[in-house]
């Protein structure tokens, strides 16, 4: 009986086995790459807003505190968005004729709210609470990045679960003194209150001082999902 397979088939078979493994790994790698890429997470993507509001100008330039607009960030789960009235408290006096601000004045005249595009959009089954994070010494900058350097707002982190768990597993790497939460450029090494400390030494102290729940509990599903 004639040979069914050419001798080269041996090589081919071996190559196929390796190629299949590589292919599987490759597909996984590509999937992981896409899933965590800004293409999916929308990190770094600027949304079209009705008004090109600049945090860089208001926070970085003018030095307005986060809580001037996001009033309820310390009490509620939702940080709060400023009502038109907050904008008008300044812009009824300055830049009163700027074209860019017409939608604000329009809203004020008509009573129709401004509709903003949500930048940080968590899935419906995630229940994030701003109040507890801010109260326990997690700075705004930790999740939102240096908004004072963002002319237009974008999302810095991936907002994926792994990203949340980075902190929930090691809160000591990110925690800061409660009075420095709204400081966007806090560095423990330059903090006169904590001379000689670094994040590595200060973090665990603050975790104990603020009674941060043990990792086991911060990782519980019901902490965020319900």
């Amino acid at each position: 009986m004639a040979q069914l397979f050419h001798p080269a088939a041996n090589t081919l078979a071996k190559a196929t086995v390796f190629a299949a493994a590589l292919l599987t790994a490759g597909i996984g790698l590509i999937y992981w790459f896409i899933e965590t890429s800004p293409y999916v997470t929308l990190a770094g993507e600027v949304r079209n807003q009705p008004i090109p509001f600049s945090h860089a100008h208001h926070v970085g330039g003018l030095g307005i505190d986060c809580r001037y607009c996001h009033v309820q960030v310390e009490e509620s789960n939702f940080a709060g968005m400023p009502p038109t009235k907050t904008c008008m408290s300044c812009h009824s006096v300055i830049w009163t004729n700027a074209d860019m601000l017409e939608p604000v004045r329009q809203s004020w005249r008509s009573g129709q709210p401004i509709v903003w595009q949500r930048v940080h959009n968590l899935p419906g089954y995630v229940y994030f609470n701003h109040g507890i994070h801010v109260n326990k010494g997690i700075g705004c900058v930790t999740c939102h990045g240096n908004v004072d350097e963002m002319p237009l707002m974008y999302q810095r982190g991936s907002l994926q679960m792994a990203w949340c768990l980075d902190c929930h597993r090691q809160p000591e790497r990110f925690i800061r003194p409660r009075d420095q939460v709204f400081n966007l450029h806090y560095d423990p090494r330059q903090d006169p209150q904590h001379l000689g400390e670094t994040q590595r030494t200060l973090g665990p102290k603050l975790v104990a001082e603020y009674h941060i729940l043990p990792r086991r509990q911060l990782e519980d599903c019901f902490t965020c999902h319900r």
Partner: protein
């Protein structure tokens, strides 16, 4: 689907019950009779009957491939969907106090049949989402019954009337108002001649004042009232006894000036359901249960009140009774007469059937005991005739109860006067109106609220009269005759009354309107809205204000102005203080000190006429008595378009989406002689002696009196919304109002019957989710206290080891419990040695010694089975309504179910003597939510880790991980997991979405769900505690800094401040933990559910010492009555139960101590 229900072998059921003789528990007759259906329902997670939805013929290989191909393609499409983009819409001017993300609570009051129930309404960003009871309101005391809970859904009902409609044509409010006024002031009605108003029961002070003004302005006009649930017999009875209308307020618990409670110790109920259908039932339930909570560890109460119930149907009160006598309605009257005679009430005779003597003697001797002097209470139900009510008053007077266990006040309801100037009862008033309409004496009729055409008794043909009056030639297509208008919640296509009027005006829901109302004891509340009218609805008060406007003017006063102006004159404060008074009143939800004071009335001279002994029809002719009652879920029909209530399994029957003619097993056997196919679902035609007929499916319920049929109102609507009617537009259920006679509104006697031969499929949840032993958990000796003979005898078939062996329900008598400390432990353990042994597990344990460890205690002693927890859970947790057909497939989604167990109340000797063990069983209610097992069987089998354990002892269900294998549900011994077979929320009207709790995920198809202990409430409380702690500790640190830098002189002051802050942190933490309530716990009228952290909480006390304080639930778990369910499975449930104690009279139950 199969025709009808299986024919239960009642004889087999009876003999099985007899062999169990009081020890065995059963949930249904099917179980006792061991029908195949029952066997299947406990052996299989989802019974085969659900497979029927797939037609085997069409499910071919080709179809399969096609479906699979489509699924794969769709899966791909789904994977490519874009992330939804969100929007943020802030306010233009943010209202004060509104913090988006944080709910607000407002106090208001819900009207039901004219009486007010105080509620606290949760508002999320302006949407009322959840109703809680108002703890400051006497008719609620913080509890909320199913109707109060469901009224939140009622608000968002998409089928509510949205427009002013004139005979199917959309019109406008302006057009209506001008027509209304033009007709009212026309020359046809000088002084209001021919002008009539029809209202529901009126207790609203504003509306009553307006009605007075109206009658002054139009002296010839007449006001009528009608309410199907009006307490006509009660009122007439009071007039009979006292010569005038008097309101009776029971005081099952009365507090002394020093706060010491005085309980009613012996309560005799004559056909009264004091725990359910009185306007004050929530308070009565709370106080009734409080007098029966036996505690020996952290509290000391070793006495219980004793409740005797003599009734003609099965009621919640009856199921809680220590002694219950079911009998025919006429016999209850006779029993009352005999009881009165023995208590020495004048004008009563002492002849009684010998069968009652034993009970009568026992009750009378109990009532007359010196230690019970003034602490007894005789209750007469509204359904009994006025004479019996008068007798009840006389009995309470003879027993010295007046001013102690009950008080008399001025009547809360306002009555129109009849032609003789006497207060007219609801039925008389309506009859007079219809009579006048028929004789052409009415030319202008405004019906304010209610749906009287549907609810009118059969002998008052309001519907026909209305059509004749409204339309020439008696047809809706004809020209208009007289002015008729209906202010109602549902539009004319959904409302029998609106359909027959010319005009239909949308009525505002109480959550969107201003008003006022009085509770059962006269306490007034201002009704304040939480949202603007969604459909431009109006209220009766606003309409009355229009009527009171002079003809030349157009006035559009809002309800706010009307109610405020009225109270400005009523409030007993100066004009300058009114603003403060108004704010305080709105905040509290009650008008301070508005409860009516006790009045001194005496029984008018002359003996009370002996009760008219309605002759009980004898069974010989086969005629039956019919008892009519409001439906346990949809009430009088006004809530019939409410999915939550329709799907709420009714107590005792566990019937959903339907009503039925309820029969006792013996009655069913009698019927079976005539119609051999008699079984649940057989439709019989019931006909009264005056020719009224109704076709109703029968259903066998143990515990009902023989030869009596119980029927519930609220079904068989002629027109209504999608939940009211069957999906095909036909009537859902049958209309029991069609048998009602205004002269005897609650009973019909001498009813004949005829089989139609048809079957109607009744959907009941009785045997759904039964906890069983057939799954074979462990060796026999681990199965708890099996009957030894069954275990040892290898010939015993496996199914002998059924429910009765699991000791799911544990009970004993109070006397036995109090006999010795050993007995106390035995009551809960009751032979379950397995529970006493240290339980071993293969799996490593968790550390449960730190932080909060959540647990629950459910007191079966207090649970009356009213379903409040179930509906509260539905409202809080966005639980889906699945519909009748899906419930039939065991797919109801309720996270908490109320298992109702029956057990024979007869001793062995009695059953051997021929007594029927099915006739009067004891009833035990057991609410079953997820037990949050410490060793949870569900967690072990989940292949994707979608159900895992939390550090706080919760058994977490993670929807976003769940892939729907349903293994967890299969492995759950408590059967508390629910699977979303469909996306139930798909296709639900968008307005219903507004009711959803934003704190809870709305689950989608393919996801398992279950009770989470209201984890959203836990998390919020924990967050609040943690925030409070870090904030106060900041202050401590600041003080410490100050201490370091400051001079020594101020040091002691700072030290004191620091220690008081430390104390504050711990005490506030403890208070917040104690205030934390799950939804079921908060709604419970009897406080049967306790919830909290089961570990002691560290508290710094006044003297600076650290102590460990127990929360309420931790204390309850120390009580000897506490026991876990199915503990032998080593699940270590966090939810435990408290055994039920009974307090039988030793004279009636001499063997009661064992």
């Amino acid at each position: 689907m199969r025709e009808g229900q299986p024919n239960i072998d009642l004889k087999a059921a009876r003999s099985r019950c007899q062999s169990l003789s009081g020890e065995g528990l059963w949930r249904s007759l099917e179980e006792l009779a061991r029908t195949d259906e029952f066997r299947e329902s406990i052996e299989r997670e989802f019974p085969a009957s659900m497979i029927e939805e797939f037609d085997a013929g069409s499910f071919s290989r080709r179809n399969f491939l096609r479906l699979m191909g489509a699924s794969m393609a769709l899966a791909g499409v789904y994977g490519c969907s874009e992330r939804p983009s969100g929007k943020i819409v802030p306010y233009v001017q943010q209202p004060e106090q509104v913090v988006p993300g944080m709910p607000l609570f407002f106090a208001t009051a819900m009207p039901l049949n004219g009486f007010g129930y105080g509620v606290l309404v949760e508002s999320n960003e302006g949407r009322p989402t959840k109703i809680e009871g108002n703890p400051d309101h006497p008719a609620s005391l913080g509890a909320a019954n199913i109707l109060m809970q469901a009224s939140a859904l009622q608000l968002y009902d998409p089928q509510r009337s949205a427009n002013v409609v004139r005979v199917d044509q959309i019109s406008s409010w302006e057009a209506f108002r001008s027509e209304l006024m033009q007709q009212l002031h026309s020359d046809r009605h000088p002084g209001g001649k021919g002008v009539r108003l029809l209202t529901e029961t009126v207790t609203s002070p504003t509306l009553a004042w307006q009605l007075d003004q109206f009658r002054k302005q139009f002296p010839e006009a007449r006001w009528h009232h009608y309410d199907p649930m009006a307490r006509v017999n009660t009122q007439k009875g009071a007039i009979l006894a006292f010569g005038r209308p008097v309101n009776t307020v029971y005081q099952l618990r009365r507090f002394d000036s020093d706060g010491k409670p005085n309980d009613a110790k012996v309560i005799v109920s004559l056909d009264s359901d004091v725990l359910w259908d009185e306007p004050g039932s929530l308070q009565y339930s709370r106080h009734f249960a409080a007098a029966r909570k036996v505690r020996v560890r952290n509290w000391w109460q070793t006495t219980m009140s004793r409740l005797y119930v003599i009734e003609s149907t099965l009621t919640l009160s009856g199921s809680m009774a220590d002694h219950r006598l079911p009998m025919r309605p006429g016999d209850v009257s006779g029993f009352a007469g005999a009881l009165a005679a023995r208590l020495g009430v004048a004008g009563t005779s002492g002849e009684t059937p010998s069968a009652w003597t034993r009970h009568l003697d026992a009750i009378v001797s109990d009532l007359k005991k010196p230690e019970n002097q003034g602490a007894t209470l005789v209750l007469v139900g509204e359904s009994q005739p006025p004479e019996i009510h008068a007798l009840g008053h006389a009995m309470n007077q003879a027993l010295g109860n007046i001013g102690k266990t009950l008080r008399y006040t001025e009547p809360v309801e306002r009555f129109p006067t009849d032609t003789n100037g006497q207060p007219a009862s609801s039925f008389d008033s309506l009859r007079e109106l219809v009579n006048d309409v028929q004789h052409g004496r009415v030319e202008w009729l405004l019906i304010l609220e209610g749906n009287p055409v549907y609810t009118a008794p059969a002998d008052i043909p309001l519907g026909d009269a209305l059509v004749e009056m409204s339309f020439l030639r008696g047809s809706r297509t004809g020209d208009f005759a007289n002015f008729t208008a209906h202010l109602g919640a549902y539009a004319s296509q959904n409302s029998e009354t609106g359909y027959r009027c010319q005009w239909q005006v949308p009525e505002a829901h109480y959550l969107e309107s201003w008003g006022d109302i009085q509770a059962f004891d006269g306490t007034a509340s201002i009704i304040q809205p939480l949202i603007g009218p969604m459909h431009a609805g109006r209220t009766a008060i606003e309409l009355m204000d229009v009527l009171l406007t002079p003809a030349s003017q157009v006035r559009n006063r809002t309800g706010y102005e009307i109610v405020r102006d009225f109270w400005r004159n009523q409030a007993k404060v100066g004009q300058n203080d009114f603003e403060a008074w108004w704010k305080r009143t709105l905040e509290k939800g009650v008008v301070a000190d508005s409860a009516f004071g006790a009045i001194d009335v005496s029984i008018s001279a002359g003996p009370v006429a002996p009760p008219a002994m309605a002759p009980s029809t004898q069974a010989t002719g086969g005629e039956l008595d019919i008892v009519l009652r409001p439906d346990p879920s949809v009430w009088d029909g006004s809530y019939s378009n409410n999915g939550w209530l329709q799907e709420c399994p009714k107590f005792f029957t566990k019937l959903v989406w339907d009503n039925a003619a309820l029969l006792s097993p013996k009655t069913a056997e009698l019927l079976r002689r005539k119609y051999p196919s008699t079984a649940d679902g057989l439709v019989l035609t019931f006909a009264t002696t005056d020719g009224r007929k109704v076709d109703a499916p029968v259903m066998v319920v143990p515990g009902l009196p023989d030869n009596v049929v119980t029927m519930h109102f609220g079904y068989g609507r002629e027109r209504g919304g999608s939940a009211t009617m069957e999906p095909d537009g036909g009537r859902r259920g049958f209309n029991a109002y069609a048998l009602r006679d205004s002269r005897s509104p609650w009973f019909v006697s001498g009813v004949s019957h005829e089989s139609t031969g048809r079957f109607h499929r009744l959907v009941v949840t009785r045997s759904h989710h039964a906890m069983d032993t057939l799954g074979g958990f462990g060796p026999p000796d681990m199965r708890g206290p099996l009957k030894p003979k069954n275990v040892e005898d290898p010939a015993t078939p496996d199914d002998e080891r059924e429910l009765e062996n699991r000791r799911l329900v544990r009970t004993a008598t109070l006397a036995y419990f109090n006999e010795s400390p050993e007995h106390r432990h035995f009551v809960a353990a009751l032979g379950a040695e397995a529970e006493r042994k240290p339980l071993l597990s293969l799996y490593p344990g968790w550390d449960y010694s730190k932080g909060y460890q959540w647990g629950m205690s459910i007191d079966m002693q207090s649970c009356i089975g009213c379903n409040a927890c179930l509906v509260a859970c539905v409202a809080e947790n966005n639980i889906a309504v699945v519909g009748r057909d899906e419930v039939a497939r065991q797919r109801e989604m309720h996270w908490i179910r109320i298992d109702q167990y029956f057990a024979s109340s007869l001793s062995k000797q009695e059953t051997e003597g021929g007594a029927d063990p099915l006739a009067n069983p004891r009833i035990y209610n057991q609410p079953v939510p997820c037990m949050q097992c410490e060793n949870a069987p569900c967690e072990l089998v989940c292949p994707v880790g979608a159900t895992v354990h939390s550090a706080e002892g919760l058994n977490e269900m993670v929807y976003n991980r769940c892939v729907g294998t349903r293994y967890c549900s299969n492995n759950c011994p408590y059967k508390v997991r629910r699977f979303n077979f469909y996306n139930w929320k798909l296709g639900v009207a968008p307005s219903i979405d507004l009711q959803h709790n934003p704190q809870v995920t709305v689950r989608t198809r393919g996801v398992m769900e279950k009770c989470t202990y209201c984890v959203q409430r836990l998390n919020n409380t924990r967050i609040e505690i943690e925030k409070m702690t870090v904030q106060l500790e900041d202050r401590i640190r600041a003080l410490q800094e100050q201490q370091k830098s400051a001079a020594a002189e101020s040091e002691s002051g700072i030290e004191g401040q620091i220690s008081s802050l430390r104390r504050e942190i711990t005490t506030r933490e403890f208070d917040m933990l104690e205030r934390l309530q799950t939804a079921c716990q908060q709604a419970c009228p009897t406080q049967a559910i306790a919830f909290g952290s089961i570990l002691p909480v560290r508290v710094v006390n006044e003297s600076g010492q650290t102590e460990h304080r127990l929360t309420q639930v931790a204390k309850l778990k120390q009580e000897p009555l506490d026991y876990p369910l199915l503990a032998e499975l080593t699940t270590k449930p966090r939810t435990t139960y408290m055994a039920r104690l009974r307090n039988p009279n030793p004279d009636l139950e001499p063997h009661a101590t064992s």
